[in-house]
Symmetry: C2
Subunit: 123 residues, 2 copies
């Protein structure tokens, strides 16, 4: 059942997860959900040099999460969320493992309640 999950495109997954592993970059992506933005726009909220922010944007671009079009002197960036799909799908194969544990926990709690009911109520 899990053998099918053979990771067809590991390098892309590496790049996407790596891009997402930084708070600044995640914030930039969130920002882009509100609409396109220039490099300057994306950099503005962060207490780092423009050059540093530009590098972060490059990482996002390399992971395919941003598309850039140059318009005059400003580079406008758009969200390209599609590559996240692969990441989400990879994780989704593990979903049953945390829901299973939650179900098990619930079962244990229910059993304990049951037990308490047996004793407390009667004795």
């Amino acid at each position: 059942m899990f053998n099918h999950m053979v990771e067809r495109n590991a390098p892309a997954l590496d790049a996407v997860f790596h891009a997402l592993s930084d708070t600044t970059r995640r914030a930039m992506l969130r920002r882009l959900t509100a609409g396109e933005a220039t490099v300057g726009d994306l950099a503005e909220p962060f207490p780092m040099s423009l050059a540093a922010a530009s590098k972060h944007i490059r990482v996002l671009e390399d992971a395919g999460l941003i598309r850039r079009t140059v318009q005059g002197r400003s580079h406008i960036c758009r969200l390209e969320a599609a590559p996240m799909h692969a990441g989400q799908e990879w994780i989704s194969h593990f979903q049953r493992f945390w829901t299973e544990r939650l179900d098990a926990l619930e079962a244990i709690l229910n059993a304990e309640d049951q037990h308490k009911g047996d004793h407390d109520g009667k004795a």
Copy 2:
């Protein structure tokens, strides 16, 4: 609608995404879906030293994705998928952006089909 997504626990997300950004570590996690395994078991498929594999396992452990119990001389590892949930949820906020694009594409294709149907030959 997206303003609510303020990243309550950024460091944990950093750690999870970083842990997932390596092919070897993802393979180890997949391996663990088949059941618990020792450090040696997890290391065995990879053409690297045991020490290197041990470091990867440490990264997974630090991200909370693995729980380890020492039994005699062997360290047995179990999958702890729960922290992936946060990652999945973060990504899920972007889901509409790639489905939207797919829908838009579909709409364009439909419109083109429509157009073809209207004046068939050309305009």
